[in-house]
Structure formats: C-alpha cells, structure tokens
C-alpha cells in the first residue's frame, strides 16, 4: 500500500471535475492547469476553468501490456481528447460497445481509476465515454 502523495489533495478538483485554467489576458485554456500562460508569460492572468467534458478523439491506442496498476483492466483504450473549450486532455476511454475512431464524440464520466490493493485508497477520476 502506498501513502497518498502530498499533492493529492490539490489534484482532486482537476481529476474529478476537469478543472483546468484559462488566461484572462489571451483566452488560452489549459489542462492540467498551468500557473503561467504559454503565450503571455509574465503578463499572464490565470484563473480556474471547469471544462464541460465534451470533446472528440484526436488519437488513441489500445493498451494490452499494462502497468501493474491496471493489470486487470487490459485491454483498455487511452486517448487524447480535444475538449470543446480547446485544450487536449489525455484520458481513459470507456468500452461501452461503441466504436472508437479519430473524431468519435465523447463525454466525460466519473469512474474509479485504480484501487490500491486491499487496504489503500480508491482513486476516482474522469474517463471519457463514446456517445
């Protein structure tokens, strides 16, 4: 069993609710959240931005040889999703029987990401489901 990392508490909002950031100066959106805007540097004015969770598949791959954490999940699909608000987000794509292709429309769902053994934490996370 692992102890939760010190930063875990800060990661809950992004992981549960797709909370990223947006620069008020130029409008650029980021996920995961950034402290400094890539365009505006020292001029950037960042604020939290919760993304709606709909988007489309930009690229994907099927994992057949998973890390230990996901050994019982394989095969499973991970992909890069372009959110409707702009940023590209990496995430697991749920197998709901619908075909996954580049351009497949998806929406965010709330799922268990992994369970740390018999006694450790249960990690919840967004995943994407094809619609």
């Amino acid at each position: 069993m692992e102890k939760p990392s010190a930063g875990l508490w800060r990661k809950i909002k992004p992981r549960y609710n797709l909370v990223g950031s947006q620069c008020k100066k130029c409008g650029s959106t980021y996920f995961p959240p950034r402290i400094v805007c890539k365009n505006c540097g020292r001029e950037s004015r960042m604020e939290d931005r919760q993304f709606a969770g709909d988007g489309e598949v930009v690229s994907f791959t099927t994992i057949r040889v998973p890390p230990d954490t996901f050994k019982d999940e394989a095969p499973y699909i991970v992909g890069i999703i372009k959110l409707s608000e702009g940023p590209n987000v990496e995430g697991h794509i749920i197998d709901n029987g619908r075909k996954v292709e580049v351009g497949t429309k998806v929406k965010a769902a709330f799922r268990r990401m992994y369970v740390d053994g018999e006694e450790g934490l249960i990690y919840y996370h967004y995943k994407f489901e094809p619609i």
């Binding site: 549960y16 609710n17 709330f110 799922r111 249960i122 919840y124």
Partner: protein, 349 residues
Amino acid sequence: MSGIVGYGAHVPIYRIKVEEIAKVWGEDADAIKSGLNIREKSVPGRDEDAATIAVEAARRAVRHSGINPKEMGAVYVGSESHPYAVKPTATVVIESIGASSSVMAADLEFACKAGTAGIQAAMGLVDSGMIKYGMSIGADTSQGRPGDALEYTASAGGAAFIVGKDKHEVIANILKTVSYTSDTPDFWRREGAMFPTHSGRFTGEPGYFRHITGATKLMLETTGFKPVDFTYAVFHQPNGKFPMVVAKQLGFTEKQIEPGLLTPVIGNTYSGASMLGLASTLDVAKPGERILVTSFGSGAGSDSFIIEATENIDAKRGMATKVRGLIDSNKMYIDYATYLKDKDFIKGR
C-alpha cells in the same frame, strides 16, 4: 412545504440475462423469469462502485434542478455498498458536484431504504429553514453470492433527489412522509463479510410485506387518501413479483405501478430501487398527479411518501435524463465468466 426540485439517475450499461446465470447452475431459466418476474439485471463496470454511481446520479440531479451547487446545504448518501468502511461516499459526491465546504454531509445505511431516509432528513432541514437545498442519493452495487437466489436480482444503480421549498422551483411537492420500523432479522451482512445472509424464502412475509403494508396503511389512514387518489404508486422491488403482489394486497392496480417497475429489466438496485422507480414515474407524471412511494430496507423498515407533481414539472422536463432512456439507450450483454471477472469473484488472480 418542501418538495423535489430536481432528480437524476444512473444505471450501468452492462447486463446479464437470467438464462446466462441459470445455465451455470443447471437451473430452469423460464421458471426463475416467471417466478421472480425478471429478465436481466444491470452489472457495474470494473471501474464503477456506489460512489461513481452516486456521483453520476447527483450531477444529473443538479443539472435537472438548475440550482447553484454552492447553495447545497446537505448531502446524504444511502447505500449498503459504500466503497470504504471508513471514508464517506458523501465527500466524493460533494467535491464532484462542486458544493461548498460548508455543506453538511454523511453516509447513511439502512439496507435498501437509506436513500429515502436521507430524503426525510433533507425535508426536515429544508422545512426548518436550516438549509436551502438538501440532496439524498440511494446507490448500490449489491452482491449476490454465486449460486444464491439473490444472484439473479442483485444489481447496480442509483438515483439522487434534491429537496427545496421555493414554489417556483419545486417540480413535485412532498405532501407527507411516515415510517414503519421494527427489529426484524430478515437479511444482514456483518462487517467484512463479502456477501449478505438472508433467512431464506420465508423472509418476505415478516420483512417486506409487513413493513411495506404497515407504512402504506399508516399513510392512507392518517391522510384519508385511498389508492384511487393516486395516479401512480412505487413500491420497493427486490424482484419483479413482490411489488405486484403488495400493490394488489393494498388495492393498487398494475397500471399504477407500471412506470416505476424497473426490476424486471435492471434487477434489484437496493438503495437505488424505490428511488429509481420514483424518478422513472416523475419522468411521465403530469401536473397535479399524485404518486405514493413506499421503500423497504431489511432489518427492517419502510418509508412512505405522498408526492404531487406541480406545474413546474413540464418546464424542467427538458433538463431531465429519462430513466427508461438511460436503461434502454445503451446496453452491453456480458457472459457469466466476464461477470465473475468484473465482480472480482475469481480466486487466485
């Protein structure tokens, strides 16, 4: 008077048919299907548990209600399959709906009726003016021991209800609630035990029937309403048969319970069952129509409610995720081997 300002549901997309389970144990599928009035049941995905189901239902309820989640004053989650023994499911829910940190939150447990007990608690807090909105969720991923009769019915799903009292927001008034409770050991699960134990096929009479009838009769006697005064009725549904029998005993018709009778197609969602039945009934209820709801939890007790749809129900319908739509729109049938793997029932892995 408090009422419902929004509701939401979640049912996993995976299904297993009665035939698939029956063939493993050499049982007669047709006899089970007609005896229990069930065709198939929902099965949670490997990455779903009572918390993820509660969150999906809660998010849909918030969207349907149109309220600001920062104004949520209390969140209760009723389940008999909370993912942690110690670490409240309600904490995961409040974070995932964007509630403020000043929210009251707790997990409840009363077998299949903890979610309706949470609605009663929320009503009290709203009516007293302590909070503006309260949410109660019933969600479960129930377990049936392989080979046990419960294996045909124990399924997964949940529903969330938001209680408020602004008459411009309430889609259905809750006219009254009563409970009927006793110490009846019909069904239990000890701490750490993987599967529940039940007293066998004779538990229906002292458990389900006595408590549902006790609460419903108490409600009818104290309000003067008769079964004909309700357009719809919802009773807890551990299988598809019991609610039909108890409805008939109490003087309700099959037509009254039809919109809320979901167990034949999704199984017994435990804490979700009567609440999903109510949500599915509200999906079709018109202004002025009354619904009688009586839940049941082993151990044992029943909560009964009289709910009356208001003019607002039609206006908010567009934001609701219809329960029947959720159940029918996307289904994936799995075989028994996949079912065992997904439920982590395979030893030596």
